[in-house]
Symmetry: C2
Subunit: 209 residues, 2 copies
DNA sequence: TATTTTTGACCAACCGTTCAACCATAAAGA
DNA sequence: TCTTTATGGTTGAACGGTTGGTCAAAAATA
């Protein structure tokens, strides 16, 4: 018989797990995964080194948990399973959502880009992405998680062909869109306070709507 | 007295130094600087670990030497000290040069983006860059090296104002150009064989000429 | 033989990880 | 109300392994 109820324990555990993951994400992003140390994370989370291993099996498992949580947060934010269809009216909203998710989760994106830039980490942790930011495949053991907005985007640009003339090249337009999106992402990851951000966002919408 | 002439020694030393740096650059880019090991580099360069320290004082010094060499190569490739002026006619050539320098030195760019994504490495090795790809400041001890094409680009877009109408916003146009350039760079670093590359390049030139 | 290159065993430091021992809590028993 | 007790939280010393770096000795060269 447990002195505390099962639920109490789980709530406390979940809170502490979240705290550790928050601290670790920042440290991973700042120092890089390999240079980051369990000691540093434990100290900044206000717990002992040993306790880290009560919550996460290993440093690698901690990274996996962080990545999975972040991908799920982005996934839920975009709510792609709802319809998976991007209308022209929703396009503004879509771009603004991307802008917001980049701003709000900068540490994650910093870490994400670092990981996908490294071949060996990419293989080890299965953070596969031939098209980062657009397609994120991530699986740990049995579970598999996939965030893929490439289908939605492809669909959107193919439909544009109907309203544009025969000279319209949907593939080229989409590639330019993806390039712009990634360039915007990298820029936004570095520079946080950009007073021209609204202008830039509007221009991107104007160019690809 | 030295059995070989001073010059002979220096030539051999320079060659071996270059070999080590080539191997190290690939390994740093693939595994990440911190995960990369001196042992691995020595083995793949066909020398012993101890000899590494005959050529470079430390792992950090090796990274600095690699970064400095790469920045100098890019610098010489662009030949910016020649005029520092980018005319409209040269714009095509300029974009194609960027494309080529991204393709030819992919390992360096992979490493570069990894480093500038990490705050602590950025501080430690002074690879400063508020605008990566556009401005690279790098100094080691006394020496200082700077690659900055931002001035040339700013100048180019300010001049565009004269031929465009009063509605033309040079700052916005330049920001979009930089975003596009960085997005193109990130894309090109990941994907090496893109049959649509020529189309993309032409479109970028068309958009910002 | 004089000089430089090259080696690999060696070292201290640090890393991720483990574990036996304590601590805190709250229900159960007196 | 106070003590007991069971349970999971928490600690930090300790461990094995790896790393960057050193150095005395050997090999290579002209």
């Amino acid at each position: 018989m447990s002195p505390r109820t099962q639920k109490q324990f789980e709530e406390i555990r979940e809170e502490k797990r979240a705290l550790i993951m928050d601290v670790a994400l920042d440290h991973f992003a700042n120092a890089g995964y390999h240079a980051a140390t369990i000691n540093h994370i434990a100290r900044h989370a206000g717990i002992s080194k040993g306790l880290m291993y009560n919550y996460f099996d290993s440093k690698e498992a901690l990274l996996e948990a962080i990545m999975k949580r972040s991908v799920m947060e982005v996934y839920e934010y975009f709510d792609l399973n709802k319809d998976g269809y991007l209308s022209e009216d929703e396009f503004d909203f879509f771009i603004r959502k991307i802008s917001a998710v980049l701003r709000n989760k900068r540490s994650f994106w910093r870490l994400f880009f670092q990981l996908v830039l490294q071949n060996e980490v990419r293989e080890k942790f299965s953070v596969l992405s031939s098209n980062p930011l657009i397609k994120m495949e991530f699986f740990t053991g049995e579970e598999k998680f996939l965030l893929d907005i490439s289908g939605v985007i492809t669909d959107y640009f193919m439909r544009k062909r109907e309203t544009r003339g025969p000279d319209y090249d949907p593939i080229l337009d989409m590639n330019m869109f993806l390039i712009t999106l990634k360039g915007y992402a990298i820029t936004r990851i570095y520079i946080d306070d950009d007073e021209d951000d609204e202008k830039t966002i509007n221009r991107i919408i104007e160019l690809f709507k």
